[in-house]
């Protein structure tokens, strides 16, 4: 047999073993262990004991490690250069208002059977919190109010991620770096809006007297055809970004329940996922502030001065996924001041319905085609719709004139 033939020998060899009938359960194949069938083992009892002990230890260790790893403390902190950082919060299931303090213990009142009120959070005031880590609160479903003290100097934009019940973030007025305007988190000089609580509309509904709940605790919103819907939309579903704001922070408005936003001319940056997944956001207006606007509640058009449709002149940066899944938008104008558009900036803002492309079905650009070449754009920045089993990007309308109003504003509705 050649070397190659040897190497590719057939899998099935003709082997015949002459095994006597009385050796069928004991016959040992050369090179393999001997069979052990229905025969007693040596030191059977001892082996069983050792085996059992090893198994008990192994199983106990398994369970111990598993329990240790999923059992997280309600509050986790770490020391950093500037002081103490608030790292992680795991709700006990009943904490609805959270002070950003150093909590040493959750103390339960044995005489109170109501789990919603039978505890207090024991604080150590000698250890002020100076920073809040990203994702410190992540997918919490209970916390409604977060109180930030005067000592907190750093808050990551992603610190309160997907807090579905969060209505307000209150900041101590003595805090040197941050402040809040009616429960929305800003930096101190109000040049950056950092976090709009996901369930802020519930707070506003209660504040302005629209709050009604069904038997399961879900809030009932007025229907569009209701008499008071226009007022409701103005008071609850409309947000005016103050005139001082230059930056909309990362994830700032994500999942907000709102239909209208007023953006000041002067805004320069919309960070990554700044307006992510706001399915009802139909109207983006930009206003030209004459006087400083600090009231985020929409009162009247006059208070804001001149305004126009879509993104403001002077805007430079649109981060990735900035408007992803805002499918109620129908008009998008990118001013010629824009120099950067991140990948998937307008992803899923259009869709097909009855063979029509709905939503943002064209991107209007102020710059000419030649000028727009200097804009840095990420992959798939334009909306795409289904086209012959594939996806097709919507067209760009270069050198476009900004559209004038095509529909009524909340003020006009009223």
């Amino acid at each position: 047999m050649s070397k190659k033939e040897k190497k590719i020998a057939p899998l099935q060899e003709d082997i015949h073993l002459d095994i006597p009938e009385d050796e069928i359960w004991t016959y040992q194949v050369p090179g393999l262990a001997a069979p052990h069938i229905n025969k007693p083992y040596k030191y059977y009892g001892l082996k069983k004991v050792i085996f059992t002990l090893v198994i008990i230890v192994a199983v106990s260790l398994s369970m111990y490690f598993s329990v240790r790893t999923v059992q997280s403390d309600t509050f986790e902190y770490s020391e950093i250069e500037t002081g103490i950082q608030f790292d992680k919060f795991s709700n006990t299931g009943f904490i609805t208002e959270l002070d950003i303090d150093y909590i040493t213990e959750v103390v339960y009142d044995e005489n109170n059977a109501d789990p919603n009120t039978n505890f207090t959070l024991k604080k150590d005031t000698s250890k002020p919190i100076t920073a809040i880590r990203q994702y410190a609160l992540n997918c919490d479903e209970k916390v409604k109010v977060i109180n930030i003290g005067a000592d907190v100097l750093e808050i990551d934009g992603k610190s309160f991620y997907s807090c579905w019940a969060l209505q307000r973030i209150e900041v101590d007025e003595n805090n040197p770096n941050y402040c809040d305007i009616d429960g929305v988190l800003y930096n101190k000089d109000k040049t950056e809006i950092i976090c709009v609580p996901t369930d802020r509309d519930t707070y506003l509904a209660e504040k302005y007297g629209y709050a009604e709940y069904d038997e399961f605790g879900y809030r009932i919103e007025p229907a569009v055809e209701d008499e008071n819907y226009a007022e409701y939309e103005r008071d609850v579903l409309t947000y005016v970004i103050p005139s001082t704001v230059k930056t909309v922070g990362e994830l700032c408005f994500n999942y907000a329940n709102m239909t209208t936003v007023y953006i000041p001319e002067g805004l320069q940056t919309i960070e990554t996922l700044g307006f992510y997944e706001i399915p009802r956001l139909a109207n983006i207006y930009s206003y030209v502030p004459v006087n400083e606007v600090t009231d985020t509640h929409f009162t009247s058009q006059e208070a804001l001065g001149e305004y126009y449709l879509s993104l403001p002149e002077g805007l430079k940066y649109i981060g990735s996924d900035a408007f992803t899944q805002c499918q109620a938008l129908t008009y998008m104008y990118v001013p010629s001041s824009v120099t950067f558009i991140g990948h998937h900036a307008f992803w899923d803002t259009c869709y097909k319905q009855d063979k029509q492309v709905m939503g943002v079905n064209v991107i209007n650009v102020g710059a000419s085609e030649e000028e727009f070449k200097s804009v840095e754009t990420g992959d798939s920045w334009r909306p795409q719709y289904d086209f012959l089993l594939f996806k097709k990007s919507v067209d760009i309308n270069y050198s476009s004139e900004r559209e004038i109003f095509a529909f009524a504003t909340p003020d006009e509705n009223k």
Binding site: K7, I8, P10, L11, Q12, E13, I15, H16, L17, I19, I24, W25, V29, L32, A33, P35, I37, Y41, Y44, K47, K48, V54, I55, L61, S62, M63, S66, T69, V70, Q71, S72, S90, T92, G93, F94, V106, D109, E110, A113, Q134, Y135, N138, C139, K158, Y161, S162, F216, E250, N254, T272, Y276, E277, H343, H344, W347, D379, S380, L389, F390, K391
Partner: protein, 584 residues
């Protein structure tokens, strides 16, 4: 050319001649090859469709509708762990005796299962947490568990009792009834297929995900999915076809051609299904996917499976059931510990656990990096999975040319290098979707190409290890082999929960949208991949000690055939009726 034509003609004649009866030295007629193509194809497709339904965080139903916290699944795993250990012991004993227990023991086991079910039902009907002081440390600890509260914990705990008792009792009942007729691998199809179809429909239509309170949603979902899991629809016909012949050459042939062709059905479906889903209003997040698309596809596949299941036979040389070796509990335990090759596989698995808990990287790449859906998604998935087909058709050659040891060492090294390149691409050029994506796709393509031969070799070796165990202990002891997992449990449970916690630190919880944030996505994917790469390098070491070759396997098969032959002969001499045996 004429030589090739002659070969084709000869093959045609061979197939025609041995359509109904196998050639000499072989065991499988060509008609059964045809049945394998369609039957295994349908069964495989059905089982693959069921991968869309599961009580885990990456299931689209959980991801888009139930929205359960990621760590809750680990918490439930821990709650179920103690009972899981106890019921596993009974389960192994029952399974490795094929459901045939001494009468007295059978009654005891049924009683235990009955009590478990009764307790389980009581926890669902009553809230046991009310028996405890609500301010006690125990209750506050349970309330603090991610996504749970004390009530949900007790109900989840009880659900596992109900599930274990129910599954255990069915296991004895149906094995005894069906194994003598249908064999040890495919019997479960006959008792499970109808209830499984009903559960697949219910999963889509019961609006459990609408429950407001997350803890209630968790325990009710757990109960629903536990009931769904009582009934199986595993890829059992393929398991059967892996043992279709005692002839090694024939086993590999069936594995490499008819079984491989049978997967074409699933490959087609893997293109068509996402296209259909892509046409839905909310695509993967559309509940109609679970109400219509999945049930219709599954039920069709199940119908074809049942039509052909009876025609595919397992041919393990074994004594008749009436004369099989009765495995005592401790013999089972010590029996598997004698198997050196199971030990090597255990060490490999232990090292492999370094990647436990990582998110499905490829899914994230497709959905969150490239935002694929519909036909482009299908085509890419099909292209990558097709990459493995041509090399797999050459599996018989590779298995003859290279030893199992060589193949597996090559496999682990190719994974390590491939994943290292992907990690580098995502870390250094993650912002450039086109470049990063192209690198990832090319590497995935090559990794798929180099995966199928080792996979075939691995499947074949697992069957051989079963044969070797049968030689050692008189039974295959496939269930008792689970004891190795207990020994490695402390390490795997420790390591396997580090990654989920790491992911939580990078922002991954119940909201998958965090993966749209480039920086978070990069950390969530790349860090676990690096851990995995280290694991792949280390996994080459145990294979250096592998010495089970074809010659040893052929000798083992000879021993098994001889045992079956002698036992059956003696049984007939004693006038005992025989069933379920096979002499080869």
């Amino acid at each position: 050319m004429s030589e090739l034509l002659n070969k084709v003609k000869d093959l045609g004649t061979e197939i025609k001649t041995h359509w109904n009866t196998p050639a000499e030295g072989k065991y499988v007629p060509y008609k059964e090859y045809k049945d394998v193509v369609i039957g295994v194809g349908a069964n495989y497709t059905g089982s693959k469709v069921l991968e869309y339904i599961g009580f885990w965080s990456s299931c689209f139903l959980i991801m888009h509708h139930y929205k359960l916290p990621y760590l809750t699944f680990s918490v439930i795993g821990i709650l179920n762990m103690p009972l899981g250990y106890i019921t596993a012991l009974i389960w192994w004993y029952v399974c490795d005796n094929l459901g045939f227990l001494p009468k007295k023991q059978e009654r005891k086991v049924y009683l235990a299962y009955g009590l478990m079910m009764a307790f389980g039902i009581s926890t669902i009907l009553f809230d046991y947490s009310r028996l405890f002081d609500p301010t006690s440390k125990f209750i506050t600890l349970l309330n603090g568990l991610e996504g749970m509260n004390a009530t949900a914990c007790f109900k989840t705990f009880g659900t596992h009792f109900l599930y274990s008792g129910w599954v255990g009792a069915r296991n004895i009942f149906w094995r005894k009834k069906l194994i003598p007729k249908y064999g040890r691998y495919k019997y479960s199809l006959y008792c499970d297929v109808v209830p499984k179809c009903i559960m697949v429909i219910l999963i889509g239509w019961l609006p459990v995900y609408n429950i407001t309170d997350v803890a209630t949603r968790v325990w009710v979902a757990n109960l629903l999915f536990a009931t769904y899991n009582v009934f199986g629809f595993g890829n059992v016909l393929e398991e059967c076809s892996k043992r279709i012949s005692p002839n090694l050459q024939e086993r590999i042939l069936v594995r490499s051609y008819p079984v491989k062709f049978s997967h074409t059905f699933n490959s087609i479906l893997a293109i068509v299904l996402p296209v259909i889903i892509g046409a839905l209003r909310y695509e993967w997040a559309d509940i109609n996917m679970y109400r219509y698309v999945i049930p219709i596809t599954f039920i069709t596949a199940a119908a074809f499976t049942m039509y052909l299941a009876g025609r595919i036979k397992e041919r393990i040389p074994q004594p008749p059931i009436e004369k099989k070796v009765q495995i005592k509990f401790w013999d089972g335990m010590f029996g598997v510990l004698k198997n050196k090759y199971l030990l090597i596989n255990t060490i490999v698995g232990l090292i492999d656990s370094l990647g436990n808990g990582m998110l499905p990287f490829v899914t994230i790449l497709y959905f969150y990096t490239f935002r694929l859906s519909g036909l482009p998604y299908s085509l890419l998935v099909a292209l990558i999975s097709f990459a493995g087909t041509p090399p797999d058709l050459l599996s018989p050659y590779f298995l003859k040319r290279f030893s199992y040891k060589q193949i597996m060492i090559f496999y682990q090294l190719s994974r390590a290098i491939g994943y290292a390149i992907i990690a580098c691409a995502m870390w250094f050029c993650g912002d450039n979707l086109n470049l990063c994506g192209t690198i990832c796709i090319v590497v995935l393509f090559f990794m798929e190409m180099t995966k199928t031969v080792p996979t075939t070799a691995g499947h074949d070796m697992n069957v051989r290890i079963g044969d070797y165990q049968m030689y050692l202990s008189g039974e295959r002891l496939e269930s008792f082999a689970g004891i190795f997992g207990w020994f490695t449990g402390p390490i795997t449970s420790f390591v396997g929960l580090i990654i989920p916690l790491m992911l939580l630190r990078y922002g991954f919880n119940s909201n998958w949208d965090v993966l749209f944030i480039d920086e978070s996505r990069r950390n969530i994917i790349v860090i676990p991949i690096i851990v995995d790469v280290v694991g792949f390098f280390l996994m080459t070491i145990p294979y250096l000690f592998w010495d089970y070759d074809n010659k040893k396997q052929n000798m083992v098969m000879e021993v098994l055939k001889r045992r079956a032959e002698v036992t059956e002969k003696k049984a007939k001499e004693e006038g005992v009726s025989v069933s379920g045996g096979y002499t080869g």
